[in-house]
């Protein structure tokens, strides 16, 4: 238990509250799992915990952490976002095509990307809340649309090139630090977003969001604009996916396969962190821990020289086992069941969309 991650970045001040939150559900499970994974990595490759390899790991893990925070916002409000993988891919391709190697275009294009992310989030959110399409279908549709539209736009394969400046956030960092070597910007950005996420969930908006995921009718009756709160969660998810796209594009450049399958990885990370699918329960910290754990797992496989082909099997077993274990722990006190009579005309009056 010497690994640095066993102490989650709980903000000071209300530590008891944060600890209490950690005491429930999947967060302790994932922390335990993460410690275990790091312990095994340490036995395999002691040098992993020297600065540079750890920073390389952080650089790689940062985008998933950001995506997981975005996904957390949506999941905790009771919805799903399956479109983030496609969105990351689309954003990288858009960036490459619009920048086309021009340094001066970097910032304008990042602006365009953020605007595009905003638009996608709005569409996801409004279709889900106002048109009452289940979010799994909405975002599945958006996933198909983004995948097809961007490829149609670029003729099937990405064109253009990213500028050097664009690649700095994902690739660069504060150089020549003692011990660490390079402190990657990606880590800084992810940390800032994580802290912002924690603060957001303590803000009025965050409290409204989690209450909406818990009971959207009660939230609506309390004056929460459910459609707006949920739509903003989708917007947040899409914007964070855009940030992740900047980091991923920066990290590795443009390839045709960027982003594929990231939505499932992000959902896995969030659930592994003990955030309940269906909404209303779980913390940002847990989602972050989940994301780090998933990345650590990939690293572990690699450190163990596990044959590539068997990795998915081990990954599947570990995920199921971890969630089963967390479910056991959370099971001790059965929650009181909320059963509504079906015929309340007021059951679902406002812009609510849980289904």
């Amino acid at each position: 238990m010497t690994s640095p991650t066993t102490a989650p970045p709980a903000p000071r001040g209300r530590v008891p509250g944060a600890l209490a939150a950690l005491g429930r559900g999947g967060a302790p499970t994932v922390a335990l799992l993460l410690a275990l994974i790091f312990a095994v990595i340490a036995t395999q490759n002691p040098s992993f915990f020297e600065g540079p390899p750890l920073m390389a790991f952080a650089k790689k893990a940062a985008p998933l952490v950001i995506l997981a925070i975005g996904q957390y916002l949506v999941i905790v409000s009771g919805e799903f976002d399956l479109s983030v993988g496609s969105l990351v891919g689309a954003q990288v391709v858009i960036a490459a095509r619009l920048i086309d190697g021009e340094e001066a275009m970097t910032l304008p294009v990042i602006g365009v990307m953020l605007a595009f992310g905003l638009l996608v989030g709005l569409v996801n959110g409004l279709v889900t809340t106002l048109l009452r399409v289940p979010s799994i279908i909405t975002t599945l549709g958006t996933m198909l649309i983004l995948f097809g539209a961007v490829r149609y736009w670029t003729g099937g394969a990405p064109t253009g090139a990213l500028s050097e400046a664009f690649r700095v956030p994902g690739r660069g960092g504060v150089e020549d630090l003692p011990f660490l070597g390079q402190l990657p910007w990606a880590l800084v950005i992810a940390a800032v977003i994580a802290v912002a996420g924690v603060l957001l969930m303590r803000s009025p908006y965050g409290r409204s969001l989690i209450a909406t995921g818990d009971n959207d009718v009660a939230a609506a009756f309390s004056g929460v604009r459910v459609w707006r709160v949920r739509t903003l969660a989708f917007v947040g998810s899409s914007l964070l996916a855009t940030v992740a796209a900047v980091l991923i594009g920066g990290y590795a450049g443009v390839t045709a396969q960027v982003g594929q399958g990231l939505e499932f990885t992000a959902i896995t990370a969030v659930v592994l962190g003990g955030v309940v699918l269906g909404g209303g329960r779980g913390t940002v910290v847990a989602a972050v821990l989940g994301a780090v754990t998933v990345e650590a797992l990939f690293t572990l496989f690699n450190q163990l020289y596990l044959p590539s082909t068997i990795q998915p099997t081990v990954q599947g077993v570990i995920i199921i086992a971890a969630v089963a274990y967390a479910a056991r722990r959370g099971d001790l006190r059965l929650p009181e069941r909320l059963r509504r009579r079906p015929d309340h005309p007021t059951e679902r009056p406002l812009g609510t969309s849980r289904r």
Partner: protein, 595 residues
């Protein structure tokens, strides 16, 4: 219609004081959840053909005992004997097979399935290996017909039934097991007053068949109407089991609460707010697809009761005021400023709040903490500059006497119904509203919590708030309200002063009265028929003892008995006449009654 005399006290078919053998004998039942003792050495005997009431405050262990009997929970220790042989139910189905059926408090049907499918769920009749849907519907129709309930079609989807019909389907489902014992956990909680009649009749049938009925209710009137024996629980302990004749409501309540309850409805307090007397809420000509011509005023310091049958539009008025279902015509003004409540946000901003009737579904985010629920409205509606109000929240919570084991970080799903309601109230009070609409604020909460709610209403009124109270419990409505507006069929049927009789309210609500302000039963009053059915309809509230054709040995009902008013009970028998044309008659009455 009159063929089935309600099994009121007049036809008690009193259980022999000591039939040789109880049908059910529970001894020393103990049950803990996570180290918290919920039941401690409970003894209970049920006799065939006897209605046995189980009473106690919320959290006294009534539901748990019932669930032990039903096989939902297993007792930690103690024995259960059924007809002399020892049994141990590990699953509800075992209990059902043994003839112990249960109507649970929670909604226990599948809304998307038909009545027949619900009734026979888990034991669908089969023919040649396949489920015989027709046989199932026939059998369901027969069960319904047996209880004179042909009105419910077996193939109807449950979601398209009314709440009362759904409740009846639940009872029919329990009956279909050919049960020797039926336990019912607050079966009337969701029923309108007049609908309780159907339940009375069903229970009468069951007694005739020799079924033992275990009946849990908070409503004193039902308990004394139905039960021959009463068992009182408090904090998981058995207080005593007494014959119903040997105890009166006041004494019963004292034993439940463990202290005498002097006065049910607290006295009005000295007004001290500066807005006392000002018109804080006024509605003029409000209407939408369900309401028409709604108009009334509420002043600071005043409690306005909104009466009427279920479905008369009470809740709809509340929803229209609160912006859930809008008024499409008419105008609403709060503190003299005209508002258009298009959403709860607007209403809250204007200083108008609604405490909804369904706490769990509409009031609380159950997985969140007390604090999170308490500040939800502030967070959602007044996110900026609400720090002062948030700081006041713990004070509000403690002034409501909310005590929880986990403090204010406790998730509300672990709280009792009464405490949950306090959280809901605190949530709204935190916004410092000027107009407070309370829709069934005391439904399903225990006597102590009710008292707290009543005191709170008085406090708020005294400080200058305008309060609109909606309640199905007429004593509560009459006892608390300064003035009553009665609705019928989506319109205002008339207005009554506070302290009017239940008869007057019911007469107005059912449209069967001559003079809306008359206290005395009018010619059309259903009470006129009361004596004919053997005094099933117990009298009005205390103080009107003359009208009470009480059963042998009954004492006059205490105020806090929040049972269904007699008028309501009667109405179901006689109301079919006036019912249909009440719509046509109401506008005239409205004009007549309008201030």
């Amino acid at each position: 219609m009159t063929a089935s005399p309600p099994p009121g006290p007049a036809s008690p078919a009193p259980p022999p004081p000591a039939p040789a053998e109880p049908l059910l004998r529970m001894r020393g039942i103990t049950k803990s959840f996570l180290g918290v003792r919920v039941l401690h050495g409970i003894d209970l005997d049920l006799y065939p053909g006897e209605v046995h009431a189980l009473v106690g405050e919320n959290g006294a262990g009534k539901s748990t005992l019932m669930k032990v009997l039903a096989g939902v929970h297993r007792a930690d220790s103690g024995t259960v004997e059924l007809a002399g042989s020892r049994v141990s139910f590990e699953h509800p189905v075992q209990a059902q097979r043994a003839g112990v059926a249960t109507v649970f408090q929670e909604f226990n049907l599948l809304p998307e399935r038909t009545v027949a499918e619900n009734v026979f769920l888990g034991r669908e009749p089969r023919r040649r290996g396949l489920v015989d849907g027709r046989a199932m519907e026939r059998a369901t129709a027969a069960l319904l017909a047996d209880l004179d309930l042909e009105g419910i079609a077996p193939w109807t989807r449950v979601r398209s039934l009314s709440v009362a019909e759904q409740q009846i389907v639940e009872i029919v489902k329990a009956l279909s097991h050919d049960a020797r014992i039926i336990s019912m956990d607050e079966p009337t909680a969701a029923l309108a007053d007049h609908e309780v009649e159907v339940l009375y009749r069903i229970i009468g049938r069951l007694r005739e068949r020799g079924v033992a009925v275990l009946y849990v209710s908070h409503r004193m009137k039902e308990i004394f109407d139905l039960a021959a024996t009463i068992t009182v629980l408090k904090d998981g302990d058995l207080v005593e089991t007494v014959p119903a004749e040997g105890i009166g409501p006041a004494e019963l309540v004292r034993r439940m609460v463990g202290r005498p309850v002097s006065s049910v409805f607290p006295e009005r307090l000295e007004p001290r707010g500066d807005r006392v007397g000002e018109v804080r809420l006024s509605v003029r000509g409000g209407g939408n697809s369900q309401l028409d011509g709604i108009g009334f005023e509420v002043r600071g310091g005043e409690i306005l009761g909104l009466g009427g049958l279920q479905g008369s539009g009470r809740t709809e008025v509340a929803h229209a005021l609160f912006g859930i279902a809008r008024f499409t015509r008419g105008e609403v003004a709060v503190d003299g400023r005209r508002i258009d409540p298009r959403s709860p946000r607007r209403a809250v901003r204007a200083g108008l709040v609604l405490v909804t009737e369904d706490r769990k579904a509409q009031g609380l985010a159950l997985n969140q903490s007390v604090t999170a629920n308490g500040r939800l409205v502030l967070d959602a509606v007044l996110p900026f500059g609400s720090a002062r109000r948030v700081r006041r929240l713990p004070g509000i919570l403690s002034s409501l006497e909310l005590v929880t084991r986990g403090g204010n970080d406790q998730e509300v799903r672990y709280l009792s119904g009464g405490n949950q309601q306090k959280v809901v109230l605190a949530k709204w009070l935190a916004t410092e509203p000027g107009v407070i609409v309370l829709d069934e604020p005391t439904r399903g909460i225990d006597v102590g919590a009710k008292q707290a709610v009543y005191r709170l209403m008085r406090e708020l009124a005294a400080s200058g708030a305008a309060i609109v109270l909606i309640s199905s419990e007429l004593p509560e409505l009459i006892g608390m309200a300064d003035r009553l507006v009665v609705l019928a069929d989506g319109r205002i049927a008339g207005e009554l002063p506070g302290g009017s009789t239940e008869e007057a309210v019911m007469a107005m609500a059912t449209g069967s009265h001559g003079d809306p302000r008359a206290d005395a039963p009018a010619a059309g009053d259903p009470r006129a028929a009361a004596p004919l059915s053997g005094g099933a309809a117990a009298g009005p509230r205390s103080g009107d003892g003359a009208g009470r054709a009480a059963g042998p040995g009954r004492r006059p009902e205490n105020d806090l008995g929040s049972g269904p008013p007699p008028g309501a009970v009667r109405h179901t028998d006689s109301g079919s006449g006036p019912g249909p044309d009440s719509g046509g008659g109401s506008p005239a009455r409205h004009e007549e009654a309008a201030p």
